[in-house]
Amino acid sequence: MEEAVTFLKEWARDGLLPWSAHCAAVKHFGLTHATVEALALENGLFPARYQRNRNMISTQEQLQLFRSKVAVIGCGGLGGYVIEELARLGVGHIVAIDPDIFEEHNLNRQILSTPATLGKAKVEAALDRVAEINPAVTVTPVKDAFCLANGLELLAGVQVAVDALDSISYRLELAEVSGAAGIPMVHGAIGGWYGHVATQLPGDSTVQNIYRHWVEGKGIEQQLGNPSFTPAVIASLEVAEVCKILLGKGELLRDRKLSIDLLEMEVHEISYKKSSSTELVDAA
């Protein structure tokens, strides 16, 4: 290992480790991409692929992201973008959970779907995509539906659960399991031109409150479907929340929900205070 570290240090330029040197170390020392990235970051070398992260994310923080494990529940519209962005950000371990395969009606928006991946498991496509864009990131594909029965097991060792589900009942199960697992849940939902995001920490019941009037079935997405841009917008907001949770910085969307209307270009913030009698909304 010491030899490998010396090698990496020799090839670093201005503290940046070029991808070519990273690959040479993988080949020469028989290491995995993940091991080389860990060695680099632990020794103060910033992988050059992240150099544009550099003035907002320090080497220490990049290492923190690399050592993090995030579960993405749902690998469709929201989940595809969430996985793409987490992998490019440098989150070291992603648990991708989805029971489905790609179908033609996914092609208008789900970034992991292509004509070539029709019929392929969404989690397999996630695995392949991440291996292509950032081989240092480990993906654990789980081709199964997340539910109360398997939830705690699937969230073992995970720091944040990202809601990219398309079902309100499963989402409420995720909220319950995340709370029981003692980890934050970043909630996102979309329908047509509209979407919303909120972050729930263990002990909070924001998601349960958001769906307090729900009895059964789907929301407006059933009639409207979803275009290409709404999942990208909401997924990006979710990843920003995940990044802040993992690094312990910034202000989270805690006890509040951001509702976004891309047709009228309106953003409304709805507050969910702990005590239901003091809930306030700015917009309404």
Binding site: G74, G76, G77, L78, G79, D163, A164, L165, D166, S167, I168, R171, G188, A189, I190, G191, G192, W193, Y194, G195, H196, N209, I210, Y211, R212, H213, W214, V215, E216, G217, K218, G219, I220, E221, Q223, L224, N226, P231, S259, D261, H268, I270, Y272, S276, S277, T278, E279, L280, V281, D282, A283, A284
Partner: protein, 74 residues
Amino acid sequence: MQVTIKLFATFRNGRFKIDHRELPDGTDVRTVVLSLGLTEAEIGIIMLNGRHGELDDRLSDNDTLSLFPLVGGG
């Protein structure tokens, strides 16, 4: 009594963004929802004067009622 009704997202289609209505005293939220041609199942969020409300809540003079549809896709 005079009540301000604000609608959001798809609830605006064929209706309005904001409307001021004269309603009989004691009208509840459910009655307003149904009078707008909406169903209970479509309701995501009910805000009454900036606080979370319920379908059974009774409205008072000068209240502002805001309705958001249910959004659950991914």
